[in-house]
């Protein structure tokens, strides 16, 4: 049994398909679903968390079908949406207590122990009695994770878990997520942060217009791409390029090339500039990143239609 399984999962809104025939198998790992705004990431998560009904295809979480046994799905997973929604006039403890009750933990002693435990894991014990109004963004996100963990779900869905957080908070959120995976939980994340996905996700899938284009470990996905050589110059591209070097773009005095062996090619490229009398200010080589894979898959200039709800929520958060 797969923790998350979808077969031909499809959602159509007003005649247009937002998610098209998605097939996923996710088990005991951190799976990152990447894609531009409007690519169907949130709709996919909403179908898996039983907030949206699929138009066709099937999906199951821990063996429970999302349409036939949606209550079973909700018992085995937790969902932390993108909007940071903690009750600011409740204390941290009370916020978690609410969810402990919603998950049906009726025994008072057990409830107290579990709340204490998750607050401790998320490092919030000292501030548990404070109104969450006084919590920072990172603390609020950790409190939401505590709420989600209080019923020990087998699968955790996180929609943009680090959006709007500073660097330190982002890192600590990912460290908590990694720890949870270590305890055997399956974690399904959507994100726009390529660097975070590359660093922390075991596998990623890239979604474009509701279709899964690429799927694999970040290593597998980047291994197909060449190294990147970046040269700052005022001379444009050299007329004679070394063998095996492809120019990618020339922008703001920066020439970008791709090559299978970056280090060797760098020397060759610099030699070309020298031979032609070109001026080079600096040059560097880097390996391919997930962002390169993403940009190649998605292509430039994909603008999603404006989502008014999302925008309003973002404005409120600032």
């Amino acid at each position: 049994m797969n923790a998350i399984e979808t077969n031909g999962l499809t959602k159509v809104y007003e005649g247009s398909a937002v998610v098209k025939g998605l097939d996923l198998r996710v088990n005991g790992e951190i799976y990152g679903l990447l894609g531009p705004n409007g690519s169907g990431k949130t709709t996919t998560v909403n179908m898996l968390t039983t907030l949206v009904r699929p138009t066709s295809g099937t999906a199951s979480v821990c063996g429970h079908d999302v349409t036939k046994d949606s209550a079973g799905v909700r018992r085995s997973m937790s969902y932390v949406p993108q909007d940071m929604a903690v009750d600011i006039r409740l204390t941290g403890w009370e916020n978690v207590e609410l969810f402990a009750k919603l998950y049906g933990i009726k025994d008072k002693t057990e409830r107290r122990e579990r709340i204490e435990y998750v607050l401790d894991i998320m490092n919030l014990t000292d501030r548990a009695g404070d109104m969450t109004k006084k919590y920072s963004g990172g603390m609020r996100r950790r409190l939401e994770l505590a709420q989600a963990l209080v019923h020990r779900p087998e699968v955790l869905f996180l929609d943009e878990p680090t959006v709007g957080l500073d660097v330190t908070s982002r890192r600590s959120i990912w460290e908590y997520i990694t720890k949870l995976r270590g305890s055997g939980m399956t974690i399904f994340v959507t994100t726009h942060q390529m660097d975070e996905a590359e660093r922390y996700c075991d596998r990623v899938g890239i979604l474009k217009k509701g279709v899964l284009l690429n799927e694999g470990t970040p290593g597998e996905l980047t291994s197909g791409l060449e190294d990147v050589v970046i040269v700052r110059t005022d001379s444009g591209l050299p007329r004679n390029l070394p063998d095996g070097v492809t120019p990618v773009k020339l922008e703001n005095g920066e020439a970008v090339f791709s090559a299978s062996d970056g280090a060797d090619s760098l020397d060759a490229i610099l030699d070309s500039y020298k031979a032609e009398g070109g001026k080079v200010f600096s040059a560097s080589v880097r390996g391919p990143t997930l962002e390169d894979v993403y940009m190649q898959a998605i292509g430039p200039g994909e603008e999603a239609p404006f989502d008014e709800d999302r925008f309003r929520n973002m404005m409120r958060r600032r």
Binding site: R53, Y79, M84, L98, K101, L102, F157
Partner: protein
């Protein structure tokens, strides 16, 4: 189910009690109305204060219910609802908790207004008369909370709902038996008052105060509350599952 309902209602009550401005602001209007109409206005006597007190109590429930109508819509807009919907508690318990919260809050406010009424000179009734009055107010509270919640979910955003709320509240109050008896009304008002659920709540509360059981009025209130609650459940399902 019940457990989840209580958890949701407790959440809302806690949030409300910790916001003193909200607590006070919803009391000012009915208190001012009661004191102005019942005490200050020249030519009024104790009889008129006793006459308008049930109306002001119902008005308190009306305002509390309409004010609370936006609560679930806010939960939706602010993202709380998605988290609640993904929890295993039956989904309708979110709505039930909300209606109970709005009604209980209204009853607490009505209790304060009732105490003010006694302090400014309203006749003290028997305990049973008060219990009957508050049972009627609770019934009306369920109606108005469902009504407000349905409209707010339908409109989907706060500005439109605020407009609808101010548009509904005063006319409903004035076109009822709150200030006038049926035999004092012009014909147009009479017919409007006759189909206004507020009149039935007010008449029922008046009859309870005078010691008669308002069978017809209570039957009408039960009927409109059930219908409105069903409409509200339908709207809730439409607003939550797509």
């Amino acid at each position: 189910m019940i457990y989840g309902v209580l958890a949701y209602a407790q959440r809302d009550l806690r949030r409300w009690i910790r916001s003193p401005m909200n607590v006070i602001s919803t009391l000012v209007m009915p208190a001012a109305w009661l004191i102005f109409m019942g005490v200050v206005l020249p030519g009024t006597d104790k009889g008129y204060l006793d006459f308008i007190t049930p109306g002001v109590l119902v008005m308190t429930m009306l305002n509390a219910g309409l004010f609370g109508g936006s609560s679930l819509m806010f939960d939706k807009v602010l993202g709380y609802l998605d988290k609640f919907l993904a929890a295993p508690t039956p989904r309708e318990s979110i709505l039930a908790g909300k209606i109970i919260f709005i009604t209980v809050r209204g009853l607490l406010q009505a209790l304060v207004i009732q105490i003010i009424a006694i302090l400014v000179g309203a006749t003290v009734l028997s305990l049973w008369a008060y219990i009957a009055t508050f049972a009627i107010l609770a019934l009306f509270g369920v109606f108005v909370a469902s009504f407000g919640t349905t409209i707010a979910l339908y409109l989907g955003e706060h500005d439109s709902y605020a407009a609808a709320q101010s548009f509904l509240s005063m006319p409903l109050y004035l076109a009822s038996t709150a200030m006038l008896r049926y035999d004092q009304m012009p014909a147009v008002l009479f017919y409007i008052a006759k189909v206004n659920p507020l009149s039935y709540a007010i008449d029922a509360a008046r009859m309870a105060s005078s010691g008669t059981f308002p069978l017809l009025e209570v039957a009408v209130l039960v009927a409109v509350s059930v219908v409105m609650a069903l409409l509200c459940i339908r709207m809730f399902r439409r607003a939550t599952i797509s």
